[in-house]
Symmetry: D2
Subunit: 298 residues, 4 copies
């Protein structure tokens, strides 16, 4: 029995990088939060403090900046793949590289009814995400969206659930359903594609299914959202959805001797239901490290 | 010399209230964060713990909910005025009432190219704010916007500033200028008006001036934004702008033997410049408690 | 009637500065968040974009760093006064300077039962604050504490309050009372004193009064906390307390046919009561700009 | 090729629960954030919206409250195990249950030099965590700490690292090293033990190793911290550390013609190095779902 070094990785997190593209008087910008992580033969750095195989995280930051000059990071997936391949191909000890990107949305300012050439207004809260993993066996691209907040004012029920002696919830045929969706979908060994068009299409499918399906449960809604994405896009192997149930409780007006016909709600903070669901092709290529996040409680 | 009770107020902060409006199959929603505060003869509550004049904050919460049923809170200003007047008129010890509202923006979900009847997507990060104060001498309405994030990729300089022995900043003729604006404008004893149209117009003026003015300093930009609003809207007595200078530093590429012609920037977090500016009519009615905030470090 | 420039100021916010003090093998550190603001004759910067009187915020940042080398920033009040006086005395256009400081707490790491010479563990969440204003007419020092979270499990009642037709709250003789206190106290034209001892004493008085007073309302508790501070410290002219009522609701166990004798509570997030109270000497010197905050919705 | 349901789970996140323990006039409290997740045969809920096997998340919340009455949740591990076993044993469709707990620290208020009987002050920012997983094959207990912020003012170097053409970092023999540690350690099929004593001992070992080891890299420090924990506690199978390198950059004083002998530092926000390291016994029992987090991007 011995104590050995377990899984490890290191990198630079949250490099806030803005790339401006100038086409005469008309400018554009790409606003990113970039995190890079390297995996490989870094045992000596841990065991002995020997840094000879360790490319500093400061250099990873520099590299992200330089890469954003050499290659416009739009779509972010192509750029992240190029950056990850650089680490694997050009830095000898690196066996696997992961690049995670958040892209913040901006819209062009309207001035006098026309879009302005070099002024922008931040939109959101929705954020586009991408995580690419370039390893010895496979390349994974995980596109995603986070903080996509959806709400429907009807078309959602919850009833006929399991009841035990501590259950007090009343069934309902009509409730507000709302969530702040985190959704990610995996493509393994994908060819280059129009990543922005793909993400836009997936988003449209997700929103449409959320809107149109008469929901009997958030689980059902998530599954049908995920399945519809896989049906629409054969290149996607798997999709994962994480959905807090942002409870909107109808306020009890009985003490006030007034009706409240599902009109006034309290938007509660905590606790919240939290549903994880996923859809996968039964012949999907293995996920490898595709889902192994760089930040957060891994 | 004696120790006496100084300024005081109490209320219910951050009641998260959603009001649904149903017109057949087409629904709409108003999503609010409501804070109420009462000022008046509450000395005994402090000095002796005597609560006989104190309407509980829990009741203030109930009242906000009931008011949202009785009156659709759109525009929020009319609703907040009605709620504040109720406290002053119907609750005997209350001398002055303040209602602060944040309104979160939602857009209708697109399904198959058409807006959906009851499904919504949160937009933002921009938030509409309103703070009304109903007192014995005057009524104040302070409309506002917060988290309005603006950025221009050119048309901003900073040079010919005061230099002392600790100044190291280099002048520049071309930089990114970005801010996350908090802006509020005051109307005292206003008649009812189309509050949503007014706010939309002010926003358009602010964005246009930010875009069009060739900026020699953020101070100058803010002043001209504020002045333009007062010029466009005679009913507005005063406007205050608080603008963090969200620094975007051009990354120094000289160590890499590559050019960086204002293309790659680091979006820094802290520290940041912070500019407060305001424009006011020289015959403006006194502000009274209009600017005395309910939340935050008073 | 004309549109004129209203109140304005500018500065550098949130310079995160750590000062290390070395005494042989024994080190100490001071961990600060520093914000500076200047007021004075900056009209031309707004009206015309003329920066000749404007010391850059970047220089203010540099100055904070250099000042932390020249003078150990402990106590922070003495250091902030020195820094503010420099701006007023040495930068010609500056009429008034404000320096706000947050000081984060660290405790020495314990190793083998002994405090370590150069390793520290962050304590908190409580933060010490200081805001000094050096102006033409007066000098103000506002010491404070924020995020001081206090809770008592008994000794708090709320009853005999005003009841209207929307009141549903039940009176109680025994509840949890909890708050995350923001408290600040003002000294005008103070002599140098032992600021750290003063702050420690005020904190002790506040905590003791919170603990010992049988509370009939949070208003009453705050008043008595404030009054006790002024009684203990004649140099303090005024004290302001801002206290969210962090509601702990006893969970209703009646559906479960089990008792819950004030043992299990739900700690709610929003909404929350919010109480502002203050105590002041009736002969206190005028507050001037002492309370005019640099950051936040002012 | 078919599209099938992938990994899924559901539960109630962030139930904020406070349990008061009364022993005459001396009270104590346990302040928790509880998240529960259930895994099992919930396919029909997804595929068909059939809720007959689904215990509502609302019931999970109720159960947490009731369990905190039946069993004092201190140590949290014993309580979480009991709660998880209830879900697996008493709710038929549940195959595996996970309970995650954050415990917030409070210290007894000092009044007149003595600890008070029923008044408490929140300490922190450090939070104790526990995650238990009760499944068909094994029981896992993962204890942990998060937001444990450590800093040493010397005894840390970084040099002799890999250099490529984009490396600009200078080697250093003396720097500030600081991190906000997230650390978790796993025990599989553990007997009941004194969980609080175990966690306290692990914390002491971690802090001591951080302080005493002359660091050649954060990787090395983390490995030695982890190894020391496994050496001290044979029951622990594995330990994982996630450590942001909270950079403290020495401020360059050369423009000011003054020295800065490692005394004044800028505490930077982003980007930051992020190091994940772990130590494991080579005969450790399999981890199963022990590390599969309930919240966060899993």
């Amino acid at each position: 029995m011995a104590i050995v070094l377990g899984p490890h990785q290191y990198g630079k997190a949250e490099t806030r990088l803005v790339r401006v593209i100038r086409d005469g008087d008309r400018h554009d910008l790409v606003d990113l939060n970039v995190s890079t992580a390297l995996r490989g033969d870094f045992d000596a750095a841990h065991l002995d403090g020997d840094q000879r195989t360790v490319l500093p995280t400061d250099t990873q930051k520099n590299t992200a900046y330089v890469w954003a000059r050499r290659l416009v990071p739009d779509p972010v997936e192509s750029w992240a793949l190029s950056l990850a391949r650089h680490f694997v191909d050009d830095v000898e000890p690196v066996r696997e590289a992961r690049v995670e990107v958040e892209r913040f949305a901006w819209s062009r300012a309207e001035v006098g009814g026309s879009p302005h050439g070099h002024t922008f207004v931040r939109s959101g809260p929705e954020v586009r995400t991408a995580a690419v993993t370039v390893g010895p066996d496979a390349v994974h691209v995980v596109q995603g969206l986070k903080d996509l907040v959806l709400l429907k004012t009807t078309g959602s029920a919850f009833r006929d659930f399991l009841v035990d002696e501590l259950t007090t919830l009343q069934p309902t045929d009509d409730r507000i359903m709302a969530t702040s969706l985190i959704v990610r979908w995996r493509l393994t060994d994908p060819p280059e594609t129009d990543w922005n068009a793909l993400a836009a299409s997936v988003r449209a499918v997700l929103v449409a299914r959320f809107a149109e399906l008469h929901s009997l449960a958030l689980q059902q809604t998530l599954w049908h959202m995920g399945r519809a994405v896989l049906e629409a896009h054969p290149a996607i192997a798997e999709i994962r959805l994480e959905a807090p149930n942002k409870h909107h409780f109808v306020v009890d007006f009985t003490p006030f001797d007034e009706p409240n016909p599902n009109e006034v709600f309290h938007a509660d903070d905590r606790p919240y239901g939290l549903i994880h669901a996923s859809a996968i092709r039964d012949d999907a290529a293995p996920a490898g490290d595709a889902w192994r996040s760089f930040t957060g409680l891994a």
